[in-house]
Symmetry: C2
Subunit: 509 residues, 2 copies
């Protein structure tokens, strides 16, 4: 297909893989840079020496040396998400075994749609879903049973797509002619806590319900949905003529990692005939740990749950399981029976997953997690959660002993901690004072401080940590996701905040 | 995180990668098996010797030897989609450079959502989209310009998801308060040819429009939309009170690879204010070849186009570009402005793509194709298309010289061919006779023959080729996607059909 021969291709591929593999088996740590931050223009320049970033007119074919330099530049200038001091997102620290599982899937390049083109992957997906459903108490034949052609859910690319499935299934249960006739004009409401993911509004908009159909339910101080507020919200919405379509309970909110009370939500759903969906994108992984699984007590009563194994569990992007208590609903809601693909006269067609999904073809996302699970075992997955909580507990201890340098704002006791750094002259600081008229000017300065601290981390490449406004002031969110995080890393990050904070506070106008 | 140390992990990873890499650099060909077909129960047994397929209660951690055996079993029992005799799907023959690009993205495990966690990947995605838009004539600053923070589209996981975006943008253009208020009760219609992808109905159902809103437009004998039929369909639908929301023109239908007349579709869309979406999942790649790009004449007038680079171009699953003529519509239609992620006070936030998408986080799908493009150049990508057409032309020649053994049913002259195999006693066969009462019994036998031929291929592992009913009889679809396909492969596959057909016909009751 080009001037290169197959032999040239093989030699190039082997060179590139050697470089990439080094990165996987020996990831950066300690004082290695987390990021070599560069402006977009600088990145363009960085590639000028090899292949160039743009694909201009008459884009040429580049030789092996230039391509190898380009791959090195990609590695060099990308954010090192496996570095233990990358605590910026709800994912980090890819499991190297999952990386290899991902590579295996790419090498075999097929689509999860029919058994005939993806036999092993259909069995693997079924096995993983059965075990996840078992952990969630969704019933079924049990994780020890042979893989079934009708697994309790499906894998799909990300939590937002999974939510679309769940809400469409909810509509379909209320309105069996939905697929053919379209949604009726009946006004409906979808309930989610004020701390829930913004994806609820996006899904409502895409389904044609509109964000007005999403009702935010008040939370307690930690960010968990208040059951009394849910009942009031359902009643108020019903008074406006809106039918309660679904309640989205969150197991692990994005910022504070709060867990909604699932049993109470299930009671309300049962009473009103609403679909119960659990957004466990972040927190469902607590189910892997016997010590922490009680945070999801009641999840077995949900109609659906989404679980991102690419967040806490180190599966690479993306690895999202949608679990369903009544998976047979997928067929009625999504089947089209295309005869060039789902031929009724072929072998083992009952396994074909493509006709039960919206997407038809899917990347084989279950494979990588299956492989990692086989290497780690149940105990290894539990240890990943327990380690994260232990490191967050260590951070709590350091914060508690900081003499007011760090003030926790919200702490749900799991794997993250939301806190404010306080300049020495302001200690001890009562965060409530910041909300008073006297505290407003200080609040404004503190609000502007966090982005400057973050920018220093990025420029110096020492760490990455997220910030967001809580009660009107930007504060940091320390997230432990990576099993490589050590107490040294926690102390180092807090120390950096203290140092940068002191220097930037002095410079702040 | 388990009993294994980091050193154990590294050694295991290196062993596994060596096995997988062998598969990539030395893919199966010729008489190597395309598939080692096995029933689900046999696959379960195949893994019993290593790690087992299921994840039972107290799933153990397995050691390196067993894990290596499990990976070998995955490779052994999976369908070899890079084998030139795998002609079963609208994808085949992954480019090994794209495989490595996919591996690079997995190794760096990040999400395309914000510049701060994916700086290089935002630039790469922008560069690829700019060049694709340039090839489609969508305008913009040109492929030679530095990558822009506002690229002409986005990458998303598969054509069905891309279609959701397109139709939601179409609704949003008609109804600016769509996101907040939800879809109005105004009945709308979406037009797609009778040969178009079944995804149109699925998207209409998910958006709440219902499959009744999808109007099938009649096609010519090759499967291309008839412009007169489109105008009639729009008029008939308007007479029923349905507003024409969108027309989906197909560039490369699934079975016959027909190309709808885009200029005529654009005229009709302009006249009626309908959104013009081009489903170029399969056929848009003709734009890479100066010899074949005229099949998409008029595409530059579309509002949106979806283009699956994982089909003809050898990018691994999935690599889907959605191109938009007015990409700024994405912000109004999909932005939520979550403040913990899209902080207004951070550096280079204008690049953050996550707030312009439905999904927020996306796998870095553009990277692998960018890398392959840099290695192949424009000429290499054109050669991939030209080679596929040349091999299909070779197949046409063999079929034409077969003395009636192979009868083409539909041939649009591009990279696939839909044909019937005819038993010797029935030659010469006029396919029209099969539709007569006298031909019904023969048609029924021929219909049952194709699945038996396919099953023989699978059992013997010699090839894989799709079949589907056309005019009521199962016929084969020969698809050329893989640059490794040679005239020998084409002759071998046709020879297998002839041999299996003769044997199975004799056995057929």
């Amino acid at each position: 297909m080009s001037a290169m021969t197959a032999g040239d291709d093989a030699a190039l591929v082997e060179r590139l893989v050697a470089t990439i593999l080094d990165h996987v088996v020996d990831p950066p740590s300690g004082d290695d840079p987390v990021v070599r931050f560069a402006a977009p223009g600088d990145l363009v320049t960085a590639f000028d020496a090899s292949v160039g970033l743009a694909l201009g007119d008459d884009a040429p074919a580049h030789g092996a040396d230039r391509v190898e330099a380009a791959v090195a530049a990609v590695l060099h200038h990308s954010v090192q998400t496996t570095h233990p001091r990358f605590m910026n997102q709800n994912y980090a620290g890819a499991d190297p075994v999952a990386v290899v599982g991902d590579w295996l899937g790419a090498a075999l390049n097929t689509a999860s749609s029919t058994y005939e083109i993806a036999p092993v992957f259909h069995l693997v997906e079924s096995a993983v879903l059965a075990k996840l459903a078992h952990l969630a108490g969704f019933g079924g034949p049990g994780a020890d049973a042979p893989p079934s052609p009708f697994p309790p859910g499906l894998f799909c690319p990300g939590g937002s797509i999974a939510l679309l499935y769940a809400l469409q299934l909810a509509r379909h249960r209320r309105q069996p002619d939905l697929v053919r006739s379209g949604a009726t004009a009946e006004p409906v409401a979808v309930f989610v806590s004020a701390s829930g993911h913004y994806g609820a509004g996006k899904a409502a908009a895409l389904l044609g319900l509109g964000t007005d159909a999403v009702v935010e339910v008040a939370t307690d101080a930690d960010g968990a949905m208040r059951p009394d507020a849910l009942r009031e919200a359902i009643a108020a919405s019903a008074a406006e003529g809106r039918t309660p379509l679904a309640v989205i309970a969150t197991s692990g909110t994005t910022v504070t990692c709060a867990f909604d009370p699932l049993d109470a939500v299930a009671d309300a759903c049962a009473e009103h005939g609403a679909w119960m969906h659990v957004d466990g994108c972040y927190g469902a992984s607590a189910l892997f740990s016997p010590d922490h699984r009680q945070r999801l007590a009641g999840v077995e009563r949900a109609d659906s749950m989404v679980w991102n194994l690419h967040k806490m569990m180190g599966a690479t992007q993306q690895c999202t399981a949608l679990l369903l208590r009544e998976p047979e609903r997928l067929v009625a809601c999504f089947s089209s029976g295309a005869d060039y693909l789902f031929q009724p006269d072929k072998q083992f067609g009952e396994w074909d997953s493509g006709d039960r999904t919206y997407q038809c073809g899917r990347r084989v996302d279950a494979l990588k997690f299956w492989l990692a699970w086989k290497v780690r075992g149940d105990a290894g997955l539990a240890a990943r959660i327990d380690h994260a909580v232990a490191m967050a507990d260590f951070a709590r201890m350091v914060v508690g002993a900081s003499d007011g340098a760090f003030v926790p704002l919200v702490d749900t006791g799991f794997t993250n901690l939301v806190f404010l750094w306080v300049p020495e002259a302001l200690r001890p600081l009562d965060p409530a004072w910041l909300a008073t008229p006297e505290g407003a000017a200080t609040r404004d300065r503190l609000h502007r401080l966090a982005p400057r601290i973050k920018a220093r981390m990025q420029r110096e490449g020492t760490a990455m940590l997220g910030y967001q406004p809580v009660h009107g002031v930007n504060c940091f969110r320390l997230l432990v996701m990576n099993p490589a995080v050590s107490p040294d890393d926690v102390e180092a990050i807090l120390g950096l905040i203290d140092r940068y904070g002191t220097e930037e506070w002095a410079d702040l106008d």
